[in-house]
Amino acid sequence: MVAQGDDVRIIAGGQTLVPLMAMRLARPRLLIDIVRIGELAFIRRDGDAVAIGATTRQCLLERDPIIGADLPLLARVMPFIGHAPTRARGTVGGSLANADPAAEIALVAVTLGATLCYRDGGASAEVSAAEFFIGPMMTALPTTACLTAVRFPVWREPRVGIGFHEVNARRSDFAFAAAAAQLALDENGICRRAAVGIGAVTTVPLRLEGVGEALVGTRCDAPLVHEVVTEALSGIEPLADLHASAAYRRRAAISLAGRAITDAYEAAVNVN
């Protein structure tokens, strides 16, 4: 059915699609409601990853023990997404497929190097988060495809800490800038693995590879963090719009990334 073209769309939670339809910006002739397909709603461990079905309600992630234990960064961002009523109906897959530059789940997916799974006709396929988000509200998902799941890699190191910060006009508004960090430390407090990402600053969430690499082997002290984050942001052209200038987004991103890394480090240090 989806092969029929642009005027056929998939609807899950509808928290993004229905407002677009109400304003007649999206005009599907046909909607395929997948929200009750049981096979697409799940949270389960899958080898070194946690797999989340596309129609899993966002609110379930807030209280699921697997998410809390294995994907603390994802658990941390959930309360920042919309409001309780929208999380009660909105789905994980819906948020990912919508690909708003400020979306928190997308930021975590890119930061941790998640994999998105979809079905196109009879075939299944996978794409990395970094390749999935290609522009504002634009993904690599073929128009005939349906997202089925997202797999987040789980860090098994004994001392893992996370940090997340975003800034917006009001809680739950779209962020002007957001930063996520996950660090693993050894028993001496040296960073052995680091993943840092920023969202809402550019058209897609970005993993700051250089920052991650530069933090390994260090204690993530504040001047070093500031230096490497500033260096990484200097090569990026932030978005400018009526909410925030490019300069503000750059400054905010540097500050928020610094805080997220510091929070992650301190959390990891305190793990026994």
């Binding site: 509808g14 928290q15 229905v18 407002p19 109400a22 919309g82 009523p85 929208t86």
Partner: protein, 171 residues
């Protein structure tokens, strides 16, 4: 399209266009006017109903998607004609409204909160209603109403002498 809806404990069968929102269906077909249109794009919360006891925006659901759920609207909360539920009564006690347009949504949301959390802190109350906009009151008396309702509901059916305030409550 034909859809069967269970609203306030009663089954209804309606024939609606597939593009009709649950909000419009409740108001225009079932004549339940308590849910209100404020923005029709999921921001203000005035259209809130309970779906299986959870507050959701009825303007963001199509009526034809709403079968199989237990739907509760404000009209389903009164115990009887001329009677008020404890939450409704608490809102009257603290005057947790002015124009009344956001009020059914606030009350349903409070109802859902207290069903799961009989002793919410002030922060939890604020968080629970943060998806509902009020343009009149400044929210203080709405929060008071919910805290008052929680306190009264905790005190119901308590043996004489038992200390209702012994549980954690709002600061």
């Amino acid at each position: 399209m034909r859809v069967e809806l269970s609203v306030n404990g009663k089954p209804h069968v309606v024939e609606v266009e597939s593009r009709t929102s649950l909000l419009d269906c409740l108001r225009e077909r079932l004549l339940l006017n308590g849910a209100h249109a404020g923005c029709e794009h999921g921001v203000c919360g005035a259209c809130t109903v309970l779906i299986d006891g959870t507050p959701m925006r009825s303007c963001l659901m199509f009526a034809v998607q709403a079968d199989g759920y237990v739907i509760t609207t404000i009209e389903g909360l009164s115990p009887g004609p001329g009677e008020l539920s404890p939450v409704q009564d608490a809102f009257c006690e603290t005057h947790g409204m002015q124009c009344g347009y956001c009020t059914p949504a606030m009350i349903l949301t409070a109802h859902a909160l207290l069903a799961g959390n009989p002793a919410p802190t002030r922060a939890e109350i604020v968080e629970a209603i943060s998806g509902n906009i009020c343009r009149c009151t400044g929210y203080a008396q709405i929060v008071e109403a919910i805290a008052l309702a929680a306190e009264r509901m905790r005190g119901v059916n308590r043996p004489d002498g038992a200390d209702a305030s012994a549980q954690a409550g709002p600061a």
